[in-house]
């Protein structure tokens, strides 16, 4: 599936695996929306987890400083990635571990399979891991006769239900307790037929089922939350203790880690171990965190492997705007605040990375043309809540807009040359949208043509029928009427009405001279710029509240003809506007001083409303 790369600049090396949507978001979302269980569960869960997060984040006076540090550390990681990866490899190897490199999902899966075969086993334990979800490791192992047992409760529910995860953190959030009980009754051999739907009882059933496997299976597979270059340390953050079991009891431990997960120093964990749990589960700290730096004789697995996975990450790195997606620590805070995700759930995104981060990560990993991934950057209202909550300050809306532009350029407009003299991005054949836009261009460019087109309006009235509402339009524009009606058009365009009704005397000015449009334009040259500068401040810092309207607006550069009369744009409305701006700015500054984000503010209002 991925392009074979020869390591030449310009040759694309996109990722493969479970990160390609087979169906577009707008096609899939309506089906998900029609599932009342999903909507009920998501509504409850997303509100609960948002509130928990807001509370524990609110406890940290230095939250914004932690976010800044997290973002800057990640920027440095990307800038120094080759050195950090080689250092990690050297340190991990020096402590008795083995390091492998995988260009894509297939190569990673092959390496894991070979390592398991070398141990001669057919069953392995697994810790929940996004990287192995991404490469489709379980399916690959299954094809080769090896069973991977998911030991995280939610992943086990997904696996036993022959299902796919719908959330990064709580993959089975689309299942309610009754469904989980039914799956357990059906799929766990020897489970009591009277098993109830009490979560405590269901968790107990999972404990009993897995306990024997933890002792029996000699190979375990994990992902990694962080890898420390200076010490060769790997870190797993978890809740249930299934992680500790997998990291402690087997002889062989195989870890699959994305290359962007490396951190320079052990001390950097002091930032990320504060950011991650509070953003993720809304806890001050998750129940268990494990770290291991190579082999410790007599303590834990003695045969340690780590596979460093690219799978499209270097393609994300190429994009100066989009590369910030590689800062992601997989906390899922952006999913939990997203108004789109809250309604559709994760399956609608068609990739193991759903929600806002998935909408920017999946299309970049695979290239925007893979499958239906080009539909993902549009699965957002650009409200910006995801940016507010992101613990490493990924500007998700910025990247969404950037990817939309990339999609539009490739499909409808200029096919920009890729950096490094690569072949231009694929340009699609003209489609309906192109045809509509061409026609519109021709029509709006000429008054005569516009007038001719408007003669068709009465036909629209006819189509609208007796209720004078249009409910179905054909083709692409049918997208508009799918969820809305359009009122019938008027029987006559204003242009035609005016022609018939304008008073003859008005055709020319009383003195008989035509309006000199060019002079008018010249007269007002620079007025907009002056207005803009007056309200934003010439230095871009905004006017001080004490002096809301600088006299001249510093507009000399755009002053135009020296003889142009000064435009008096300081009417009453202008003053009112500046005052309103100043009040709003003060309010925002006060909010920022408290360390609360705008999203917190909005949530606070929401909770007040519920109370």
């Amino acid at each position: 599936m991925s392009t074979v790369s020869l390591g030449m600049p310009g040759i694309r090396a996109y990722g493969s695996g479970n990160i390609i949507a087979a169906e577009s978001f707008p096609d899939r979302a309506p089906r998900e929306l029609a599932n009342p269980t999903l909507r009920g569960n998501l509504d409850m869960a997303m509100h609960k987890i948002r509130t928990k997060r807001a509370i524990v984040v609110g406890e940290k006076d230095d939250w914004q400083q932690l976010r800044t540090a997290g973002s800057e550390i990640k920027q440095n990681v990307l800038a120094n990635l080759p050195e950090l990866l080689e250092r990690f490899e050297a340190e991990f190897t020096a402590r008795g571990g083995h390091v492998h490199w995988a260009r894509d999902a297939d190569e990673a899966n092959r390496i894991v399979l070979d390592l398991i075969r070398a141990e001669g086993v057919t069953e392995v334990n697994k810790i929940k891991s996004m990287a192995t979800q991404e490469t489709g490791l379980n399916e690959h192992l299954e094809e080769h006769g090896i069973t991977a047992i998911e030991t995280d409760l939610a992943e086990a529910i997904v696996q036993l239900g022959h299902d796919t995860p719908s959330h990064i953190l709580v993959p089975a959030i689309h299942r309610n307790r009754t469904e989980v009980r039914d799956i357990f009754r059906r799929e766990i051999p020897g489970v009591s037929p009277d098993l109830s739907d009490d979560p405590a009882e269901l968790a107990e059933a999972s404990r009993v089922r897995l306990r024997e496997m933890f002792f029996r299976n000699r190979v375990a597979i994990s992902g990694a939350n962080f890898g420390i270059a200076e010490t060769g340390t790997l870190t797993i953050v978890e809740s249930e203790g299934n992680g500790r079991m997998c990291l402690t009891m087997p002889d062989t431990l195989i870890t699959l880690m994305g290359i962007e997960k490396v951190l320079p120093t052990f001390a950097d964990l002091e930032v990320f171990l504060q950011l991650l749990p509070r953003s993720s589960t809304g806890e001050r700290m998750n129940p268990y965190t494990s770290m291991w730096s190579g082999v410790t004789p007599g303590d834990g697995p003695q045969n340690l492997h780590v596979i460093l996975l690219d799978n499209g990450r270097t393609e994300v790195l190429r994009d100066e705007v989009g590369r910030q997606a590689l800062h992601c620590i997989r906390c899922s805070a952006c999913l939990n605040v997203c108004p789109v995700f809250e309604k559709t759930g994760g399956h609608a995104y068609g990739s193991v990375y759903p929600g806002p981060i998935g909408a920017i990560l999946s299309p970049q990993l695979t290239g925007i043309h893979a499958g239906k991934n080009s539909s993902l950057p549009y699965a957002s209202s650009l409200c910006g809540a995801c940016y507010d909550v992101c613990p490493v300050k990924i500007n998700i809306p910025e990247v969404l807009v950037h990817l939309r532009a990339e999609d539009v350029d490739a499909k409808h407009g200029k096919a920009e040359d890729a950096p490094g003299g690569a072949k231009p991005a694929r340009r699609s054949a003209p489609d309906q949208m192109d045809a509509i836009m061409l026609a519109a261009k021709a029509m709006f460019a000429s008054g005569t043509r516009m007038g001719l087109a408007e003669r068709g309006l009465p036909a629209g009235k006819l189509v609208a029928g007796r209720d004078q509402v249009i409910s179905t339009l054909p083709g692409l524009i049918g997208g508009w009427t799918k969820y809305r009606d359009i009122d019938a058009p008027p029987s006559e365009a204003f242009r035609h009405w005016w022609k018939k009704n304008r008073p003859k005397a008005d055709r020319r000015r009383p003195d008989g001279t035509a309006v000199d449009v060019l002079a008018l334009i010249e007269e007002n040259r620079g007025a907009a710029q002056r207005l803009h500068e007056r309200f934003t401040g010439a230095d871009g810092q905004g006017p001080s509240s004490a002096d809301p309207a600088p006299e001249d607006g510093g507009a000399a550069a755009e002053g135009g003809a020296p003889s142009a009369p000064a435009v008096d744009d300081r009417g009453e409305d202008g003053d009112l506007y500046s005052r309103l701006l100043a009040v709003e700015r003060e309010q925002i500054q006060r909010e920022e001083a408290t360390g609360r984000t705008l999203a917190d503010y909005a949530r606070g209002t929401e909770q007040d409303g519920e109370a």
């Binding site: 400083q65 402590r95 390592l115 307790r177 002792f215 500790r244 079991m245 002091e270 410790t296």
Partner: protein, 215 residues
């Protein structure tokens, strides 16, 4: 192993891709660390905060002296019949009598997985604790034992020397040797995977008792 044959080329190719992708990217700012790195609370306040946080996670927390410690451990062991201890543990902590058996684990006396699984409880010391997050750090030190002994038994009694409690996570991590295996725990094992309802106790010890030992 066939995988290692392809390793050098995969490595050099990935590194080349990264260098090509970065191109002449500008140097990012040196990370600013303006977050809190030193705590402000008194020793007493830090101890109270740790207790508060642990109880919030539904662990039990006690404060004892050297004199009262053995009786507390005896009480906490309750009906337990067997308790694992690291070979190297302060023996003055252990209560006399009782009907339980101590099972020492360590050099020259390694318990099998099955033996560990058959024990009721485990008693260990700890390296450092962070009060703000209610987190206790084990680093496989001699009086903490290897990782498996504090994982498999269902009841963990953990002694936290009062002097080892710090307020903030950066302070705690600074006291941890990354060369050692590190286990951080904040309360007992828990899951929120079904309808986000928190359930204490899945695979790790379902019962966590913490005894803060005053100097």
């Amino acid at each position: 192993m066939s995988s290692s044959d392809s390793t050098p080329s995969a490595k050099s190719e990935i590194l080349a891709r990264i260098r090509g992708a970065l191109g002449g990217a500008p140097t990012p700012p040196v990370p600013s660390r303006r977050y809190q790195r030193e705590g402000a609370l008194s020793a007493d306040a830090v101890r109270e905060q740790l207790i508060d946080r642990l109880e919030d996670y539904r662990a039990r927390a006690f404060v004892e002296t050297r004199q009262t410690l053995p009786a507390r451990i005896a009480e906490l062991l309750g009906e337990a019949r067997t308790c694992v201890i690291p070979v190297v543990i302060d023996r003055s902590w252990l209560p006399e009598g009782g009907f339980w058996q101590w099972r020492a684990d360590g050099e020259g006396a390694v318990l099998s997985d099955a033996e560990l699984d058959a024990t009721d409880a485990v008693l260990t010391s700890s390296t450092v604790s962070c009060s703000e997050t209610g987190t206790i750090f084990l680093t496989s030190a001699p009086d903490e034992g290897r990782r498996a002994i504090s994982l498999v038994p269902d009841h963990h009694i953990c002694v936290v020397p009062a002097g080892s409690i710090v307020e903030l996570l950066p302070q705690a991590l600074a006291r941890v040797d990354p060369e050692r295996p590190v286990t951080m725990f904040s309360g007992p094992s828990a899951t929120s995977d079904i309808e986000l309802q928190r359930v204490e106790g899945v695979h790790g010890p379902r019962k966590l008792d913490v005894i803060i030992l005053k100097d």
